[in-house]
């Protein structure tokens, strides 16, 4: 039998630059091909070309065959008939791909209606069936809602419903879980896999995440800068890659334990005690305490909304705490930035997640770095210039980059400059807020290595905020797990590795996909056992906890259980927890 989808010698050119060059592949009916690569590898561009669509007016040449149809030769009317009917698309960010002003139902049923495949009533019945199949809450009424009333994971599943409603032959999934928390990702991946199989569609799965791809794909095509690096069965690529670039990707995906653990000496440099914080009347942080020695790294993990970025903002003074104390080398820091001295500013530096927005786009790299030098150290002229050169050397960027505009840098380079800007102050404490999440794995791994090295050489204490538990495990001396603004678990690296964990930490750890096929099928999504709302003093995790004890967890506050190098908040005895989470 011939291939269902066949692409030959695909070339996509924007301006004078070829974004995709000479890519060919075939997919058999009902199989899943994964396109993997870093940003700029052309993976999304290829996926969109299968629908005859290109961004920024790029031109598509080569042969794209879907069944008997030459997609590359279709005119506008032909493409319109193809899109949403034979080929469907699931976008990366459902939050922005849904129209904010229209109800979910009107958008989900639209493909059926514009292709005149069903009446409105029939279309709505089919939509509700799909909502049910995708395990969405309130399938009967969820369609009447607007996008802003739903969570990211729900929207992503609704988008899958929108794609599958016409029973397309080919589904294109463009990084559909990248924007989600790991715990949500597991559920969404399961729902996708089942739904695609039930329709019997062929699929193209675009991703940069090898572990996710391992769950979804039958075949893998590795791309770099628009060219095919390697292509073959998923098993072969994941376990016996032949191309160097593929090996680099694999290596970056599994962080290695760092070689030298921190030498923790003397008193704590940063001491946070009983900190509470709120946005207006909405409490965000609840009784957080931590200690960090010079040269040590604390990893803060949690899902989006857990308060981890807020913790950094509170320490930096951007959000004044409502109670508790933050001490730096024995000296209490004023609540907000208003009360802090320049010296106190200098000692605590924050590196923001998104270098694109954190750096002033009209400044050059040199200006960006010279500003804190002048502000904190009064360096000017030749002295400042020499120091900028030294900083650039420290972050391993060529010195002539100083005259370049920030806009002209790549994502990884920008993040390095962002880091150098903080280092220019010669801080004692560095607060890194998700500094690698917007970066490709390979680039992100390099940044991590750099931070670790600087920490060791300069003795800077680092608070490393991340949603990626495997990075934190490999990289940090201490771990703080936040859930709903409460620290549910705190441990040093050794104790964390030994493994008695809070049920939430356990959930997080078991939600990180492993790089082997079949992991997704084994991953059990355990349901909460007690229906309840969060009470003020009760365990925050109770509404989602799979091992909650009726009569205790929903009645009184969780006690603190401490062991050798760790402490956690849970009603279960440590011994029980060890068995439960084994």
């Amino acid at each position: 039998m011939s291939a269902h989808v066949s692409v030959r010698n695909l070339r996509i050119v924007a301006g004078s630059k070829a974004i995709v060059d000479g890519v060919s592949f075939e997919i058999a009916r009902g199989k899943v091909l994964a396109l993997i690569g870093e940003s700029g590898s052309g993976k999304t561009t290829i996926a969109l070309a299968l629908m005859g669509h290109s961004r920024f007016g790029a031109t598509i040449s080569g042969e794209v065959l879907l069944g008997e149809t030459r997609v590359d030769q279709l005119d506008e009317a032909g493409l319109q008939a193809l899109r949403g009917r034979r080929v469907a698309y699931v976008a990366q960010s459902a939050a922005s791909a849904f129209n904010p002003s229209r109800t979910i139902m009107s958008q989900v049923t639209e493909p059926l209606l514009v292709h005149r495949l069903a009446s409105k009533a029939d279309a709505e019945v089919r939509a509700v069936d799909l909502f049910r199949a995708l395990a969405l809450p309130f399938p009967e009424s969820i369609g009447a809602r607007y996008p802003h009333q739903l969570s990211g994971g729900q929207l992503q599943r609704l988008m899958a419903a929108m794609a599958l409603i016409t029973r397309p032959e080919l589904v294109i999934l463009d990084e559909p879980t990248t924007a989600l928390d790991v715990t949500t990702q597991v559920e969404v991946l399961k729902a996708f896999k089942a739904a695609i199989a039930s329709v019997g569609a062929t699929a193209i799965y675009v991703s940069h995440d090898l572990a996710v791809v391992a769950q979804m794909a039958d075949q893998i095509l590795v791309l770099n800068q628009g060219r095919t690096k390697e292509q073959g069965a998923a098993e072969q690529i994941l376990h016996a890659p032949t191309d160097d670039y593929t090996r680099t990707l694999m290596a970056a995906a599994s962080p290695t334990e760092r070689s030298a653990p921190a030498v923790v000496a003397g008193d704590a440099l940063l001491k946070v005690e009983g900190v509470h914080a709120a946005y207006g009347r909405l409490p965000v942080l609840h009784d957080i305490s931590l200690q960090l020695a010079r040269g040590a790294t604390l990893g803060v993990i949690g899902e989006s909304g857990s308060g981890k970025s807020t913790l950094a903002r509170v320490i930096a003074g951007l959000l004044p705490r409502s109670a508790g104390s933050v001490r730096l080398g024995g000296e209490e820091l004023p609540k907000g930035i208003d009360g802090r001295s320049r010296e106190q500013f200098r000692r605590v530096q924050l590196v923001f997640q998104n270098a694109d927005t954190a750096l002033n786009p009209v400044h050059t790299v040199g200006q960006t770095l010279a500003r804190p030098l002048a502000f904190y150290h009064g360096l000017k002229g030749a002295e400042a210039k020499a120091e900028v050169a030294r900083l650039l050397d420290m972050i391993r960027l060529p010195a002539d980059l100083a005259t370049r505009n920030v806009r002209q840098l790549s994502g990884g380079q920008k993040q390095r400059v962002n880091l150098a800007r903080a280092l220019a102050a010669r801080p004692d404490v560095l607060l890194c807020d998700e500094v690698t999440s917007a970066l490709d794995t390979v680039v992100g791994a390099a940044i991590l290595e750099l931070i670790d090295e600087l920490r060791r050489e300069l003795g800077i204490a680092t608070v490393f905020i991340s949603h990626d538990i495997s990075t934190v495990r490999a990289f940090c001396d201490q771990v703080l797990v936040l859930y709903g603004g409460t620290a549910v678990e705190q441990a040093d690296a050794a104790a964390f590795a030994r493994g008695v964990h809070h049920p939430y930490t356990d959930l997080l750890m078991h939600s990180v996909p492993e790089m082997r096929a079949g992991w997704l099928e084994q991953a059990v999504t355990r349901k909460a056992v007690l229906p309840s709302e969060v009470g003020d003093d009760l365990c925050r995790f109770l509404p989602r906890c799979p091992v909650a004890i009726d009569g205790r967890c929903n009645a009184e506050a969780a006690p603190l259980r401490a062991g050798d190098g760790f402490a956690l908040l849970c009603h279960h005895e440590l011994q029980t927890l060890r068995e439960l989470t084994a």
């Binding site: 969109l48 629908m51 669509h53 961004r55 493409l79 319109q80 008939a81 193809l82 899109r83 949403g84 009917r85 469907a88 698309y89 976008a91 960010s93 922005s96 791909a97 849904f98 129209n99 904010p100 002003s101 229209r102 109800t103 139902m105 009107s106 639209e110 493909p111 514009v114 292709h115 009424s141 369609g143 009447a144 809602r145 607007y146 802003h148 009333q149 929108m162």
Partner: protein
Amino acid sequence: MSGSAPHSAMFGVLPLIGKRFASALITLLLVSAVVFTISGLLPGDAAQETLGQSATPEQVAALRHEMGLDRPALTRYFAWLGGIVQGDPGQSLVANLPVREVIAERLPNSLMLAAFTALVSVPLALAIGIASAISRGGRLDRTLNVLTLTAVAVPEFLVATLGVLIFSVKLLWLPSIALVSEDASLWDTVRSCALPVLSLSVVVIAQMARMTRAAVADQLDRPYVEMARLKGVPFRRVVLFHVMPNAVGPIVNAVALSLSYLLGGAIIVETIFNFPGLASLMVNAVTSRDMPLLQACAMIFCAIYLMLVLVADVVAILANPRLRAQ
């Protein structure tokens, strides 16, 4: 889509609309104080103006007393404000008629002129703005861009004069003076209003079209538009059902601002065509120091402006499910 959700949303939005309405009323109250204060600062008063240069101070003082101008400002303000609330803004000092009657004669003319202009300009402006946004960077967009920019830049007296020159003097199609009277037939009214409407339209169409283009172009770049295209939704439908609900907020605001200009800003056009509207009445009131009339005109302009903005706000709230849910 079930019918119940939008219905309950309508009720949820009522307090928000009520709040906007209340703040509009407060604004109007503040405006009344400002209008009253500023008109009090103008040099000279109606008594001086009526009697002329040769009047003795005693005569002026006597007339002032008769007109009630010698009472304390605060007393006059509250008396005036009370009158306005009851629909009686006082007596025109110059015409010796109730201000209400003077205005009643002019206001319908102004409203008619504004309505005609709105009728012509709003649909045209929307069409131009949308067409321009859709063909962004294309030849049509560039042409429309140059045309609207030119129209914004050209002063309206020039447009009006050129209009008269072409349509009245050369072609003899339209009257050069707007004779509006109650016994004129509808056709005559339309003919005599044609040139003023044309002059006003040129300016407001250009403003509204440019704002519409910006609002629509901004939405066309959003990911949901690409998503809709990838669902096979025809482009026309994408614009009407996907883009417009999101662009309508900024567009109605631009329309409201432009339309409010049609009343007070029509002064030049009113003067050129000798059109008996409210704006020229207000200018006359300034020159003759007819404060009650001046104040009443100013209040009407402000009230209409606030009303238009309020309507625009409400439309924008209703079009946005996020605001609606608040």
